[in-house]
Symmetry: C2
Subunit: 685 residues, 2 copies
């Protein structure tokens, strides 16, 4: 779920806007919202389903981390369980030359050593309200760009009115079914989140990229954070109960969290666009970036400290992209998508209220094929240019009334934006230059050297020269400089001679122009079409339909257990001994030093990682794995390789979610990375 920069994000931005399930959910499929839990369906399958009190408790114990992960409260003092890979960026940010906290891991000896994670915020859903009528009324009969603007205005207005206290609450209108529903989610937010405990990176990432999305797996991908407010740990009586017990093959579990995005409701012309145009470009440019970063890091320890987490994110995204390429290039799978679309069309044929939204989508895809390369490469990639563009845009947007701003700059969005912009965070100039020159050279490659946008982006400089000049010259790595520009508003931005700001000013208008075209020709028509497609699904399948993932709170359930692979059953969990068996001593199969040092003290038969048949995707990282008694028995961190198709359709046969067991984390807390106070806190009644 770690996203790096604009070029990598373009796909995601596109797909999250388009969301409906393929057909009625079967078996344990489904990423359900908390206001539409399929109680009857689950009772029919399991003879039991959680009641409202259970659901409320699970909801209030589950945390969204704005860095892109999920998590849960596991003590009454704001202690948060998540994955190590969800705190890796924080560990990297808190490191310094010669002090690589990501590599070494982190155990806060006391609460005073718990350190704040830059940009991180914890959010808990406290209320869900249907605002579909208000938003749809706001859109009215508008079409194209006007419809997009009207929707943005309606959402900004609703969010602002609902959360007058922006210090402790956040309001967000969540678009579900691609615009079939709009729900107002109110969050209790904690914007001071601190790192408490994390294993060595070699323990959490054991097996590295080769083992990523694979199982059997031996990754200790757990960590703890703590939510603070006014300098003190927050009281969280609604936490989940911690247990170090091992998972039982076949037992029922729930995974609660914020799956990032799925694309199960795309029409065939959208799948075709992805397969034929979008994914091949993503595959090529992400692969090149991966190669660039691998060699730029090489065996330089300092660059490794600064760049390893970024590389991990790129490789993680790339593997997901490869899985999507494979899925859409599997003729049987693709035919299955077509058959489901055919079924929906057949079930709703003649329904005049629905009409034929598929042809509207087809037209929008024709427009998208024309404009998408320009959108993908409208700006270079990098933290510093992101700061600069955010500052330039925010200055312009903040001078407008709330309802007239671009999405992301409304009053309800500004507090988090400001936090992420102004929190101190180290910048590695070599990495900034690398991502900038890479993205600029890809822009030139895909647009062509003679395209007006290429000339706008590069002028007469090479990608290397431009990246070097901007990164070497800018002062935006200093949070005080960013704060002065933020506080100074448009006047300060216009007066700035910082080369990155000057550059951002020069390219920003083109981005707005492209967005306007996109909204008029693509997003506007799609908004209308998706709303009709949602109506078609409700008409055909009733409330058995769940919305596509949108990094909003969901619950999914299923049984602990492996699958059949090449005629053999994959076990439901791995044990510590397996890690020692798998270790070769060579990266990424070198065991973490603390594992080797403490082998004799470990229960080698103790559970490590587990698999279970729930419907998860990136963004669910760190989600609690909850048993029916509201005990947390693990932290979800991955899917198996078959689960890479979850983006497009969920197939229970072989797809599994992967988590680190609380049993493994307990062993680590006791023996490998000892933290007795933490253990006592977890075990407190």
């Amino acid at each position: 779920m770690i996203q790096h920069g604009r070029a990598a994000r373009a796909t995601i931005a596109f797909v999250t806007a388009v969301a409906l399930p393929l057909a009625a959910a079967s078996a344990d499929e489904g990423m359900w919202t908390f206001d539409a839990f399929p109680t009857a369906k689950m009772k029919a399958e399991y003879g039991w389903a959680p009641d409202q009190a259970w659901l409320d408790r699970a909801r209030l114990a589950t945390v969204r981390l704005t860095g892109g992960c999920s998590a849960s409260f596991v003590s009454s003092s704001g202690l948060i369980l998540t994955n190590q890979h969800c705190v890796a960026e924080c560990l990297s940010d808190l490191s310094s030359p010669g002090n690589d906290l990501l590599a070494k891991g982190y155990v806060a000896a006391s609460r005073t050593e718990e350190k704040q994670c830059p940009g991180q915020q914890a959010e808990i859903v406290t209320a869900i309200k249907d605002v579909t009528p208000e938003v749809k009324a706001g859109i009215g009969n508008a079409t194209g760009e006007a419809a997009v603007k009207a929707r943005t205005a309606a959402i900004a207005t609703i969010e602002k009115a609902a959360c007058p206290d922006t210090a402790t609450t956040r309001c967000q209108v969540v678009t579900l079914y691609g615009g079939g529903q709009y729900k107002l989610y109110t969050y209790r937010k904690y914007s001071d989140v601190r790192i408490v405990w994390a294993p060595e990176d070699a323990a959490s990432k054991f097996g590295g990229d080769p083992d990523n999305y694979n199982f059997p797996r031996y990754a200790l991908d757990g960590s703890f954070l703590r939510a603070y407010e006014n300098g003190r740990p927050v009281a969280t009586p609604q936490h989940l109960k911690w247990t170090g017990r091992e998972p039982v093959d076949g037992e029922l579990v729930f995974v609660v969290g914020n799956p990032g995005s799925t694309q199960r409701m795309l029409t065939m012309s959208q799948f075709a666009y992805q397969r034929e145009v979008n994914l091949p470009v993503t595959l090529a440019i992400q692969s090149e970036l991966r190669g660039r970063l691998i060699e730029a890091i090489g065996d330089d320890a300092e660059r490794r400290r600064q760049g390893n987490d970024t590389l991990y994110g790129i490789e993680n995204n790339l593997k997901r992209t490869i899985g999507r390429v494979k899925a859409l290039n599997d003729p049987a799978f693709y035919a299955g998508l077509a058959a489901r679309e055919g079924e929906l069309k057949a079930k709703t044929a003649g329904n005049a209220a629905i009409g034929n939204p598929w042809t509207d989508v087809d037209k929008a895809m024709v427009a998208l094929r024309t404009i998408d390369t320009q959108r993908r490469f409208s700006q270079p990639d990098g933290e510093l240019i992101d700061y600069a563009l955010t500052l330039v845009r925010a200055a312009q947007e903040r001078s407008k009334p709330n309802a007239e701003r671009l999405p992301g700059y409304s009053d309800s969005a500004l507090p988090l934006l400001q936090k992420q912009l102004l929190d101190p965070k180290p910048i590695a100039p070599w990495l900034e230059e690398l991502t900038m020159r890479w993205s600029l050279s890809k822009a030139r490659e895909y647009l062509g050297a003679d395209h007006a946008q290429t000339k706008l982006l590069l002028g007469r400089e090479s990608p290397e020269e431009l990246a070097n000049r901007l990164v070497a010259g800018t002062k935006l790595a200093d949070p005080a400089v960013r704060k002065a520009l933020w506080d100074g508003g448009e006047a300060a931005i216009n007066a700035s001679t910082d080369p990155m700001i000057v550059y951002a000013r020069a390219i920003e208008a083109n981005d707005r122009r492209l967005q306007k075209i996109y909204d008029e020709q693509v997003e506007g028509p799609l908004t209308s079409a998706r709303s009709k497609l949602a109506d078609a699904r409700f008409a055909a399948y009733g409330d058995s339909v769940y919305p596509d993932a949108t990094f909003s709170l969901r619950i999914t359930y299923g049984k602990v257990g492996g699958w059949m692979e090449n005629g053999a059953k994959v076990p439901h969990r791995t044990i510590f001994a397996g890690a020692f068996d798998r270790a070769t001593g060579a990266e990424p199969f070198a065991l973490a030093p603390a594992f080797l040092a403490n082998k004799a003290k470990l229960d080698l038969k103790g559970a490590m990682d587990m698999v279970y048949a729930t419907d998860t995707i990136g963004g669910n990282s760190g989600s609690p794995i909850i048993d029916r008694n509201l005990n947390v028995i693990g932290a979800n961190f991955d899917r198996n390789i078959h689960g890479l198709r979850n983006d497009y359709a969920y197939d229970m046969t072989m797809a599994r979610s992967v988590g680190t067991t609380t049993a493994a984390i307990e062993q680590a807390l006791k023996v490998i990375y000892p933290a007795p106070a933490l253990l006592a806190e977890l075990k407190a009644k």
Copy 2:
């Protein structure tokens, strides 16, 4: 056409084995063999066609360069015109620290300064003989692996018998129509080829990767070599006539040379295999390699000297791959391929002798999908491991009778193999390590960490450790060491403790095993099916069918002229002034120093590059562009972006070949890189 290592080669190796045109050639389409020139067709179109004397002269003046290019004799003293990019590897090999001949260009002040190019050999076709009956008789009723072995044996036997003098001749049975025809090509060969003249790399590659496969273009991609024998320039009275005249819009030209491979006759299940499986992998891994190499070179001048030509080759291949991905993902183009297959099926329906070879190909593709990842990643990539595997295999094969050896190790193939193995050639250890660790990590990624072949390739080492150990420890960079192992045969190989030889011995058997499976399940069945598909085409379209490219001698013709792009006509040639207009001063749009220094002396209105509607592909690089009077007016070096589809089907509407004019080369010889003696030699009557 520059191929780097096994992983990059896998696609090509597969496709060159599969060759037939799509349907009857239309308009100027066609890569014709010299024994089947379409005289009647051309006369109908142009009212004129070359006679046999013309064709003989063109054939005898055209050179195949074993490095992967084409060329032509342009003086009576063995002077050879080709592209600069065809001698770039030679220039790189002849460079030394601080003396970058590729960057500086090379002008031999006298013949004593003409330096031998490692591994390079010039070959001229002196005879073509049909040996189809002999080869087919050799195959008989054999199937599967036995059929492949029988064919290999028949070819080895024919080649050996036909060329007893292996010092000056080479015999090669060329497989045409994928096995529909077998032709014995006899070559006069010159294995001492020396560099005479080449521009600065910045002049030949002006515009770099952004401008590659694009036009208007301003690349001075010409160079001269000279063929030597017994230490003296060879007499070549059959040379083409040099002219410095400019090309005329609309005039008829011929391009003669050795197109490397096309895939116009693949069946739909083969196209599907490429689109769905093969090309996405190639796209991802080539892109990663590109990124690795870009950053490993960075701004290190010495690494640039050693690695730039390799990078150029990778980027050139990658752009071609991207073009193929786009072509096969264009629904209209793909439907066109299907329609042509449907037409052929319809035309031959009920022909019992042909039967249904398409279903045989389908079955072979199912088998290929199972085995191809293992084949692609059966060995690491690199010059040193290639040396080692060649030495190990050659020792084994040379101990067998000629007819029982693997292809490539027959008596007729050994002289060139030996030359390429033993010619002195610098090795850059950092580049060797890079390509090895990249290819080993890709093997692990695509096979999986637990695959037996991954374990065979890596043992318990990481890709980085293994590559470092082998490259640091081997002595194979020393040609004397290679010669000793070659001369010592199996005993020397088995006794060697050189780590690269030890490693090659360990992995070689697996490669043979895979080849055996491939021959049994894929190549054997395809050989039979392709022969029937060839019969089907002959039955349907008669002799209007030309064979797919196989890096054997072909002739193609068409008119000089641009095409319509976005409503405007692209001019038929560029002029020197355009290069100065396009230059920004920043790489790769920085003009070569000698261009800048001599601008005042140049005729800026003089022609530079040209376009013409001939049917060419990689391997045609360096091919002479010949007018109807046997004057050479340019050196072919590229296609335009629309020509990237030439792999699968030729469409005259927008596809064009791109060449450097002799007019431009003459200006360079006079003013930019002065070589008066060379100019006099070219102008001699």
